[in-house]
Symmetry: C2
Subunit: 114 residues, 2 copies
DNA sequence: TCACTATATTAATATATTACAAGATGTGAA
DNA sequence: TTCACATCTTGTAATATATTAATATAGTGA
């Protein structure tokens, strides 16, 4: 985690349903803008803006093929994030085991550590 | 990934430097609000707001200890996200190997697959 | 060159987030 | 009770983000 700022910035870029969907599709396909327009059901300029954000942050890149711009994933973190988001979790983390006696900045103890 | 909406919502909650820092600290310690106030160097009401967002989304929870509220991590996804964000990546993903001939929705080919 | 298509950019507006200040609530101690 | 402390909630102004429409650019083929 470089800086908190930059990390948050990266997450913010991914934290949009349209951009998430774009990234998800790009995991398996190369797509041009009009593909995505159809896919997402939003206007062309909106797609283009989202792509511009994704490009600016280095998550995707594109090459030109005639009139089309073919977008593909560039940042390896995207793959890992998408995998993680698909993962299933059964239980919440174990709650701290005891009611602590010294309230400030105590070291965390979980059920497992007793 | 349940729905894109909810997933984006989760990411948005994490995508703030102050909240990231809180979550990071909670990985190893239980903290009360005034601890975090000091830690983050922002006002108490602001900390409280961030905690309220984290609580509402189920990422953290707290128990009451006298006058203090002791916060701890609840959602296991947080741990995985933090681990991932700390991971180092050397190279970008391989660019698509060839300039495709059929532009629309082609299956992605990478250098590795040639 | 001209018209057409694909995409990018800009501008205008609506909406959401953020930080800060002030007041409300709840708990423990005198 | 009353006070002091820890935290939460609400109001608000500043800023950021999203959406949509309009316009600009760039490649292609007639």
């Amino acid at each position: 985690m470089d800086g908190l700022r930059e990390t948050a910035e990266l997450l913010k870029v991914v934290a949009h349903p349209a951009r998430l969907e774009i990234l998800q599709k790009l995991e398996t396909e190369i797509l041009c803008v009009s593909d995505m327009e159809e896919l997402l059901g939003v206007g062309q300029s909106n797609v283009s803006q989202h792509l511009s954000i994704l490009r600016r942050s280095g998550l995707v890149d594109c090459y030109v093929e005639g009139k089309l711009r073919c977008y593909f994933l560039k940042d390896p973190r995207v793959i890992d994030i998408l995998v993680l988001l698909k993962k299933k979790y059964d239980d919440p983390l174990p709650a701290p085991a005891c009611c602590p006696t010294r309230p400030h900045a105590q070291t965390k103890k979980t059920a497992a550590s007793l």
